[in-house]
Every structure is written in structure tokens, then in C-alpha cells.
């Protein structure tokens, strides 16, 4: 059994003294373990007529839609939110603005987003003390090669500050698990290495601070972002290495390196999804981070699902979503692509559910915000945006429901996410994307 810590700022993993006897909770505060947050993004939208469940309600009142049916085993953990409209989609740049709206609640200035993405807003609230403020991973790097930042990633710390996804499972593995070896014998000079590294980082910080003194406000802030990252690295050097394996899953102390590398053919193959889903689960389970962006595919991804069937061997964005004849309820190849994406989501959710966390499992403690960069890809509709919450956020979301908010602002979903995750923000978004109230009835 493991715990992930409270919302107070402490170095992770938790000192065992803070756990109760079974290591399941922070007995002295009686608070539940912190919820975990994931943005799970898939490019090119859905078929609204096949995505939206027929009935609203909770429990037996509603049933999954055809495109969500593959998630049936998780129905009790699903909250479908329909009817929302992305108010900041701009004609001619629908995918970049759609992506920005669905993740930041704001549009673009030039190629840059105007506001931080929701995962970073959540990280402000819950990441203090976590080794990694947030992690960003992706399954397929297939992309449209456009210049906007919101096409390259859905995680933005702010304008011009992209958090690019790692697409190579082996590189992610190295990043997560290098340094988890037990420290060397204290008499070995190598035991002093972390101390020397800290001195190096101190020198780097000193240089950055004197540089900042010479700069204007904007560039001073850019250097500040760099220095914050240096401080985060420094903090990880101080982090006590994972203990004796009693509080974390065994995979955290003796992890197995993935056998598969990056998707080099723009196919989003199942094996890469499996490897990334496993590593994403471990990143949460092993207390590496509390905030994660899982980019199954990027906005307007030019992905080729040729492994699904021979007739799927076409550019999913160009040829299939835009080119195939049909309507929002009937574009068979689009349907298969969306259902494949949901199958890959199902695999991730199943791994979360199968992994103990606190008194229950990771899925109970997580909120997974599932969305895309357009509603119906063929003509880039902005109403009926695909929005799905998976998980129960430690009991803050009930699950097993379908709620319809016809024409309401998509940014309200973001504000709902932020507040569910414990953020104190009272508004999200800018311009037509600005909202000050969350969706009603979602948070318990």
C-alpha cells in the first residue's frame, strides 16, 4: 500500500513516520491522500452523434455511447459532459485554437498560447513537493507540422513555455528511474557527488540571478522559469531515494525497462500505447509526479492506423476525417479511429484501477480529463465538444453519470477540473473563453 502525500509541501516520498501503521494514510491529519490529475488528449475529435450518450442521468439512467462502449468496465468511474462549446475556435486555425481552448480556455497570440494549460493550473495547486511538477508523454509524434505551440503539445506552463511530450518510452523510463539506485557507501567519495552537483546548480543559479538583474521584465521571467527548473532538479537531488520497497509498488524500485521505442511511422501502435500507459501509471504510483499529460495523439495528428485494418491505411486527419463522406453520426473509418483511441484510454484506466493507492486504487484517486482539439473533425465544429472525466478524484467526483450543458462554455469544464483538484482559482480562460463559474453538479 502506498500514499501520495497531502497537499502540503513536503519532499516525496513521504517519510514513513507520517504514515499510519498500514502505510495507507496520513493518520495525524486524517486527510485523504492527494488526488492525482491527468489530461488524456486525442487528436481530430469524435463523431458527436456516436460519442454523446443518448440519455443523461446517473447509474442505470444512462448508458455508454457507441464510441465510449469500450470503456464499459469503467462506467462507474466515468462522467460524460456533453453540450459544451469551445468559444474561442477561430476559422482557418481551428485545430490550433481548438487545442488551446480545450486546454487553456484562451486563444493564441501569434503562435503562442495566452494562458497556462489546465494541467499546469492543477500543478500549481498540488505539485509542491513532488519530484516532477508535471510529466508529459505521448504515443505518436504524428503532427501537422504547423507552427503554433498548441499543435505540438497540450501542456503549457504559460505563453511560449511548452512542455513537450516524451514519445520514446525508453527515454521516459530513463528520466523517471535514473537515480533510484541506492546511494553509495558513505565512505566512498562518490557519496559526495550529490553535494557537488548541488554546488554546481548553486553556481548556475547565481549566474542566472545576476543575468536577471540586467534584463527587462519579460526576459527576467524567462530566466526565472529556467531557474525554477534548476531548483526542481536540485530538489530531486535532496529527495530521499525510495525506501525499502514496503510503501511503493515493487516496480518502483526494480522497474523493467520498456522493450519498445518511439513510434517512427506515425501509427500510434498498440505496443507504444501499452508501454506509455504503464510508465504513466508508474510515474503516478511511484510518486514521481501528481500531474501528467498523456497525449495519445496530437491535435490534427496525421496518423495512419494501418495496424487496425488495411482500409485504415490513410492519413487520419486529411483523408479520413476530412475526406470521408458522412455526417456526425456516420463516418465509419472515423468511428474506428476514435474507438481505437478509446481502447487505448481503456488500457490506461485499467492500469490505474489495478494499482493500489492509499486505501483504494489510482483510478479512485485520479481525475482524468479526456478531450480533443475539435468536436466533429470533418468541418471543425465547436459545439458538442468531447469531454469525459474518468476517475473519482479521491471521492470529489461521483462518477457514473452523463450531464448535458447545451451551449455552455467549454472553459467551465476546465474550471471544474481546477476546483475539483483543490485549486483556489475562481476564473479560467480569457476573452470569449473566460468563465467564473464551474459546471454545476459535477463536484461532490
Amino acid at each position: 500500500m502506498l500514499a501520495t502525500g497531502t497537499s502540503i509541501a513536503i519532499a516525496l516520498p513521504l517519510l514513513e513516520i507520517m504514515l499510519n501503521e498500514s502505510g495507507t494514510a496520513l493518520a495525524q491529519t486524517a486527510e485523504p491522500v492527494s488526488p492525482l490529475y491527468v489530461t488524456w488528449f486525442f487528436g481530430n475529435g469524435s463523431l458527436p452523434g456516436r460519442w454523446k450518450p443518448a440519455k443523461t442521468g446517473t447509474g442505470a439512467e444512462w448508458a455508454l455511447s457507441p464510441q465510449l462502449e469500450v470503456l464499459a468496465e469503467h462506467k462507474s468511474h466515468l462522467t460524460v459532459i456533453s453540450g459544451l462549446e469551445n468559444k474561442i475556435v477561430v476559422a482557418g486555425v481551428e485545430h490550433p485554437t481548438g487545442s488551446a481552448g480545450a486546454t487553456t480556455g484562451a486563444g493564441l497570440t501569434g503562435n503562442a498560447v495566452k494562458a497556462p494549460s489546465i494541467d499546469q493550473v492543477v500543478a500549481n495547486a498540488i505539485s509542491a513537493g513532488a519530484p516532477f511538477r508535471s510529466l508529459e508523454v505521448g504515443v505518436t509524434p504524428a503532427n501537422p507540422n504547423g507552427p503554433q505551440d498548441s499543435l505540438a503539445t497540450v501542456s503549457h506552463k504559460g505563453p511560449n513555455a511548452r512542455n513537450m511530450p516524451e514519445f520514446d518510452p525508453r527515454a521516459l523510463f530513463t528520466r523517471l528511474f535514473t537515480g533510484t539506485r541506492p546511494p553509495p557507501n558513505p565512505t566512498d567519495p562518490a557519496a559526495k557527488l550529490p553535494d557537488v552537483r548541488r554546488s554546481v546548480l548553486d553556481a548556475v543559479l547565481a549566474d542566472g540571478q545576476s543575468l536577471q538583474a540586467r534584463l527587462g521584465a519579460v526576459d527576467r521571467q524567462r530566466v526565472e522559469q529556467h531557474l525554477e527548473s534548476i531548483r526542481a532538479i536540485e530538489k530531486r537531488l535532496q529527495t530521499v531515494p525510495p525506501g525499502n520497497g514496503t510503501t511503493l509498488p515493487p516496480a518502483c524500485t526494480s522497474p523493467t525497462a520498456p522493450a519498445v521505442g518511439k513510434d517512427t511511422r506515425s501509427e500510434a501502435p498498440p505496443a507504444v500505447n501499452t508501454a506509455m500507459a504503464e510508465l504513466a501509471m508508474l510515474a503516478l504510483a511511484c510518486e514521481k509526479t501528481r500531474v501528467l499529460s498523456f497525449m495519445f495523439s496530437l491535435p490534427a495528428a496525421h496518423v495512419y492506423y494501418r495496424h487496425l485494418a488495411s482500409d485504415m491505411d490513410d492519413d487520419f486527419h486529411d483523408t479520413i476525417c476530412h475526406g470521408d463522406a458522412g455526417d456526425p453520426s456516420n463516418q465509419p473509418r472515423v468511428d474506428r479511429g476514435v474507438i481505437y483511441a478509446m481502447t487505448c484510454l481503456d488500457e490506461f484506466l485499467s492500469k490505474l484501477k489495478a494499482t493500489p493507492h492509499g486505501t483504494s486504487n489510482l483510478l479512485d484517486h485520479a481525475l482524468v480529463y479526456v478531450t480533443s482539439d475539435t468536436a466533429w473533425g470533418k468541418i471543425h465544429t465547436k459545439a458538442e465538444w468531447p469531454v469525459l472525466f474518468a476517475g473519482k478524484a479521491g471521492g470529489r467526483v461521483r462518477g457514473d453519470g452523463h450531464f448535458n450543458f447545451p451551449g455552455d462554455n467549454l472553459s467551465k469544464a476546465l474550471l471544474t477540473v481546477a476546483q475539483v483538484m483543490g485549486s483556489t482559482v475562481t476564473e479560467i480562460g480569457l476573452d470569449a473563453g473566460k468563465v467564473t463559474t464551474p459546471l454545476s453538479g459535477i463536484r461532490v
Binding site: A91, G92, E94, H95, L108, T109, G110, N111, F132, E136, A142, P144, N145, G146, P147, Q148, D149, K157, G158, P159, N160, N163, M164, E166, R175, P189, A190, L193, D195, V196, V200, A203, V204, A206, D207, S210, L211, L215, G216, D219, R222, V223, Q225, H226, L227, S229, I230, A232, T264, S266, P299, H302, D313, D315, D318, H322, G323, A325, K378, I379
Partner: protein, 564 residues
Amino acid sequence: MIACCAVSVACTARLLEPAGNDSTDTSGGSAAAGAGASVTGTGGASGVGGSAGSANPPPFQPAPAMLRRLTRTQFRNAVRDVFGIEVDVADLDADTWNAGFATIGASSVVTSERGVEQYNSSVETAVNTLFADTNKRALFIGCTPTGQSSDPCVRSYIEKLGLRAWRRPLTSPELDRFVALATKATTDLGNAIEGARWATIALFTSPSFLYRAELGTTTNGALRYTGYEMASRLAFLIWNSLPDQALLDDAAAGRLTSPDGIRSAALRMFDAPAGREAVGAFAEEYMRLDRIATQAKDPGSFPEYTAALQAGMVRDMRGTWEALVFDDDTSIFDLFTTTRVVVNAELAGLYGLDPTGLTSTTFQLRSLPANGPRAGILSKAGFLSQFANQKEGSPTLRGKFIREALTCRTVPPPPPDVNTSLPDPPADKPMTKRQRLEAHRTQEVCASCHGKMDPLGLPLETFDAIGKFRTTDHGLMIDPSGEFEGTPVADARELGVAVSDSAIVAQCLVRKFYTYAVGHEERAVDANVLNALSQSFQASGYDLRALIIAVVTEDAFSSVAPQL
């Protein structure tokens, strides 16, 4: 609803939606709006852009000082120059591309936490690799560290290396700080070498290495770049890397504060092996060669599309630009008609050349047959394969790049709610891409924009998604006719000739090179500078080296305004 685009890549045209495999860049527009009267996008046939073409362009004003991050290639080149170790640019934080160039995005990009880790580990790996070789390490340090506190050997080593890394002398407190760090590392780790190692790592993981703070100093009442800042500007423009000792000596001696001093430094730099970077690195950004390595192709249709072929495409494009300037000494606009190619075995195969004597990693400058179908950079695989999906080339995207990058004109965004699909051709009646794009020409709502793109790309229809020559499309003969600036062209060769002869293309290249060099988008107040550069470029017979010298000796390259 209007049906506009054919299926497949053509639909990315609908698009001028930057979602396409294209280069639509919304940054130019907003900056133009901010500047009030930017010439961007208004380029007319007369004069350089709108303001420059007008009778009274506003007087030049220096641009605000910038903090530019090294681009990925600059970081790689710097590490290679100093340590002799190769960094894979894919392992570094992604560049931001604004107005078509990473050198412009460099002034706004914010480094991510992952990026900081990547820079740090790249430096650490490079230093550790060098230090693992006892002989190389000894040569690199240049003296023998004693392990004593404040070791003079280590102090002089840091002083010299710091000057190179930070492109300026370390201040006394800075030097003391790194010497103290070296002393601690030596003491803690019990080895005299460790001080040099960790001080080196610290110098190259410091912001003063990664970011170029070129803020200027007030001289005679005007804010101008310091000598060391000029050394840095020249080095990153001409070598795409750090200054060498001679250039830093020029800076120290005050030789980089006059046009004559700058000119002689630049001429020396051209003659160094890295001088070809002045052209090659520009071509790499201008032609967006960074994208080639990230693009996949249909493995069934194009089994020959390997990493070696992709590397060949990049080298071919860069190498041809360099050869025209540095070997042939000819007009840069021969680029569009040249038969020069730089090939490895794989690319030679694609071009139908004899691969004898070539391997994947050996390259040769060769010539294509004088009367073959392929001539000029627009029929190079490194251009053609970028503007294609995994299966088919896109006349629209190829044309769009030609229009935007080579003529400095924009293409308006598509109307909203355009149905981008056309029915597939019936199975028993195959159609060429040209035929499938017919609606782009016949329907007014499509033609108003596609007429600016498709006719530029259709002559390249004789080259497939990886740039292989073909005569048929879906079994039908290809009609490669098109149009450039109102002049009909019969095929790719004629397109190349038309582009090569175009005054608009010549003026556009000046505007592109200037913004690449100064690192900011074009402003209305740059118009006079651009006009002067265009005239001197023309007078030089379109010698790109002459243009570069003209740019670096312009007041615009030496003067600066305070940081915002």
C-alpha cells in the same frame, strides 16, 4: 456548404489551416498588427514590401535588445566545437519557430523543465566523454591541476574557457565563484581533475552559455552592441556557433565597432571551414530541413525512405546552397535552375545517378543530366518530400511554401465551414491529382486562394511523396503545366527558370535573410535598410556573401534599443 478540396493532402489546403502539413504562421500577422505598418504580407511587385515600396518609408529605429536562446543547432555546434562531442538535436528542447525561423523564435521561447534537464545532461555527457580520455583531457585543460585550493592552473583554465563559453570575460566575482566550486569538487571527490570537470559543467549549464544577452552599451549617446556582443552576433550568424579566440581578440581590441573592422572579421570567418554555415544554416532554417527527420512515409510504397535517405535530403539542400556560393561563386538564384546535387548512395539512387563510390555516409557533389526533368532546389527531394503526406505529394502545400517563403506573400485563411471533401474518383475511372483539384480552379470561393498556390505546385506533380520522378499519376499521364506570377510554365524546369528570374523572389530573399540575421520580425522601420540591401545585393550579381557582409555592416546590425 461548399465543397472545395479534394481528398487526401489536398485537404490540408483547405486549410491554410496551419493544421496542414504546412507553414502557415500566425505570428507574422499579429506582429504586423502590432507594428502598425509592417511590410510583411504586403509585398508588391515594386519595391520591397509595402512600406519600402512607398515614397517615404519611416526612418530606421533600432530594435529592442533581446535575450535569445541558442537554437538547437547552435547548441550542438557549440558543444561540438568546444568538446568535440556530437549532441543529437532531437534530445534538446524544441525550438520555437516564429516568422519562419528558429532564430526569431529564440527570443521568446521559454525553456521547459525537461529542456533544462536535457541541456544539463547533454553538457555533462559531453564533458564526461572528453574527460574520460586522459590525453584529450590533458590537452583540453592545458595545465596540470594540483588539487590545491585556488589552484592557478584551474583558475586560468576557467578564465579562458569561461570567455569562450559566455562570449565575454568572466567578472572577478564570477571567476572566484567557479574557482571555489572547483576547489570544493576536488576536495569532496578526492581528485584534482574533478575541479576542472565540474567547473566546466557549471560554465556550460549556466544561463550565460545558453542565452545570448546582447543588451548593448551607450557610446556617444547611442546604444550599441559591445565588441563582445558583436563577436557573438557575427559568430552565431556566420558559423552558427561560438566565436573563436581570434574573434574574441578582435572584440577585446575594439575592432568590431566599425564597419571596416566588422567586414574584415566577417571575411576571415567566411574562409574558415565553418564559414559555409553562413549559408548552410540559413538554408536549413529557410527550407525547414529540420522537419525531414520527423516525417514518416508509407513503408509499403516507399521502402527506400530510410534515415540515410533523409540525411541525404538535408545534406543535398544545404550543400547545394553552399556550393553555389562558396564553390561556384555565382548568383544565388541559380538555385532554381542548378543541376548541382550533393548525394550519398541512397539519394543518388533516388536521383537515378550512379552510386559507385558512395555509401550512406559519403557524399559527393555531382551534376544531374543537363536536360533531365529535375533542376533546381524545388525539384530536390528535401523540398518535395516535406510537402506531401505519407503517400502523395501536395501541389497545394508545395505551392503555398513557394508563395509564402519565396515570394513573401501570404495566403488568406479559408472561409469558415468549407466542406473540404470531394468524392473519391469512381473505382473504374482513376483521376490525377490535378483532376481531383479541379474544383480549386473552377469554384470561385476556392480559386480565390488556391489560384495563388496550386499553379505553383502543379509543375512539381512529376515528383512523388519522397521526390522520385514519375510521369504518371494513377496510371494517367501527368500534365505538369502551371503558372508563376502570371507567366505560364510547362513543367518543373520552366518553373525553376521563372522563379530564378523573379525580382520578387530576389527581394523576398533579402527580407528573409535580414530577419533571420537580426532575429526579429520585419518592421515598417526596416524598410529603408531592406531597400538598400536589395540594391546592393542586385549590384553584386546576387552574391549571397555580399548580402551577408552588407547586413552585418549595416547600422541595424550594430545598434540596439533598451530592453522592453
